[in-house]
Structures are given as C-alpha cells and as structure tokens.
Symmetry: C2
Subunit: 86 residues, 2 copies
C-alpha cells in the first residue's frame, strides 16, 4: 500500500527518526516520507515510531490502497528526489 508519513518530533530525536525512515521510505520534503510498503513493513515502522515518540512528538500516517488514485503536486521547489523508490 502507499503510505505518507509526516513527523514532528523533538529536536534531539529528529536525526534518529530521519535516519530510520530514510532507510525504509522515500524522503520527499523536510519531515515527509512516502513509500510503497507491505503490511509487515508498515507494522514494523509503526512499532518503532510508537517506541520512539514521547509527549509532544507526533507522526501522522496516511495509508492509501494504491498510488494511482492519488494526485500529487509540488508547488515551489522539489526537495526530495522522486525517481528513486526504495
């Protein structure tokens, strides 16, 4: 399934979460990741995020059946590279 994750975590956790998600999803902007994940992969990522987040931290996960039904547009500068999907 197609997953978009947007995180907002404390400064000291930021690089840890960024590194973890970069290894598993595709970075598209600042704190936004996309990925075509299996149920198992998503479960593992969610487990990690549940463990790592504290009060004040927040990660929103949007799950959509198929990337085909989503129209994506970028206004301004494209920050991540979309050619490379993990």
């Amino acid at each position: 399934m197609f997953v978009v994750a947007v995180y907002d975590v404390s400064q000291e956790k930021n690089s840890k979460v960024l590194k973890y998600l970069r290894a598993r999803m595709h970075w598209v902007q600042n704190s936004v990741f996309e990925g075509n994940l299996t149920e198992g992969e998503l479960r593992e990522i969610k487990k990690y995020l549940e463990d790592v987040t504290d009060i004040g931290d927040s990660v929103i996960i949007y799950q959509m059946g198929n990337e085909k039904y989503i129209k994506k547009e970028i206004i301004g500068e494209e920050k991540g590279s979309s050619s490379q999907v993990l």
Copy 2:
C-alpha cells in the same frame, strides 16, 4: 475532494502561509493541513501558494477523490484538533 497539504517555507513567510491555510483548511500538525475542498477552492489555494513561494520553499499537495479510502493514524500526540481551532 480530500486534500492534504504539507508546506516547508522560509521562516519569514511561515506565519503568513499558516494564517492563509488556517482560514481555508484544517490544521492537523506543524505544517500539515487537510481539507475537503472544491476544485475552485483548491485552484485558489494553489494560485496563492504559487505566488507566495520562492526558491527554497516547497508545498506538497496530495489530492484524493474521497476521504473514505484513506486510513489515517496518529502516533504520539494529536496536535491539531479536528473540531476546534486554537
């Protein structure tokens, strides 16, 4: 249609964009907004964002036909309130 917008703009433009989007969409996290918008409303928002963004600014807009087909989960703290705005 259901729209998710995630922005990453320079510090000095931040409050301006935040205020604009808050009046038109629903704030869910840091720089993330959701909304059920008409084609016309989305067109107007995109036009505004195209005008306001410069080099280094970026807004990602995901358009989905229907909110029903999206599963949304929040890990950690829910920052925006879905009923009332701060």
